[in-house]
Amino acid sequence: MKWALILACLWAGCARETASVPVLPVTAAQLLEAVRAPGAKAVLVNVYATWCGPCREEFPDLVKLEREYRVKGLRVLFVSVDDEENMSAVKQFLAAQGVTYASYRKAQQDMEFINGLDSRWNGTLPATWIYDGAGRSRDFWIGAADYKMFEQKLKPLLEEKP
């Protein structure tokens, strides 16, 4: 009985946490608008899927990066390309990774989204972009990276004087 109560509380906690993570539908144009929104010195966009091994591998480093560099002007925009019917899995994944702020899900046909975001990208996952505070693309790559690489690429932007 005691265990049943504990489990019920844990489940309720998880459910609450899951429900609290907003995952907003986004088109490529809307995403680029969010990139250009004022207030950040650098913006990192990461396109991922919850079932994608390399995406999952690098995700904790991205979450850590966001936590550590948010105060210095970093904005991280996560974009899931999971199918719409898998949004509960996406929310659980985000909650488990400690992402408690709004993130996005692709709400456009693949080709429109890919071409709308960046002609250099061909849809390979994961994909990461770094933009400066003015919304100019400063770096882009496909495949997983690690904390050191993210930090090395972002630090110069975050240290730039306005």
Partner: protein
Amino acid sequence: MKQKILVALLVACAVSAQAQLKIGDKMPATDVKLTGEGGKQMTLAELAKGKRGTLVIITCNNCPYAVAWERRIVNIGNDWVQKEKNLAVVAVNPNDPKISPSDSLDKIVARAKKEFYKFPYVADTTQQLAKAFGATKTPECFLFDSKGVLVYHGAVDDNHKDAGKAKNKYLADALNAMRHSKPITAAKTQAMGCSIKWR
């Protein structure tokens, strides 16, 4: 130092990702040995010899996109191998099985049998073919004409989830256009895919 090397390697990967084949390019890596059932080796040059076109599909066994499109890839491949006997079709799995065990040669052979492939499904064990093509993901289709010139590069269609809801059947349209010597309307298309597991 180690970290700097790692970062340089990762950056190099990002750069190489942009060096993809372009429409009009000649088929590269025609002499790269691909491995099939029983360790049998074959090259694109051998497969394409005397054919009026070659369809190369870079794919794998575990990527949800590759799996979702697999039945359509097999149907198109089987259909064209039988219907248009002058077309060579080959599915190539470039993933390193040490990273992705479900992409070992044994699993590739088993998959081809289970799913009734009537064309070779082979391992690119050296990954040289995938690199020469500038492939970065699975699945990715490359269609070459009788002169070995790339005439189509991209996705199977525009709906990985549901074949019945695909509005644009890019690959089938490209094959039909090539067969009738007509221009291919959408010669370059895009879709999501899983990154190739490089060694």
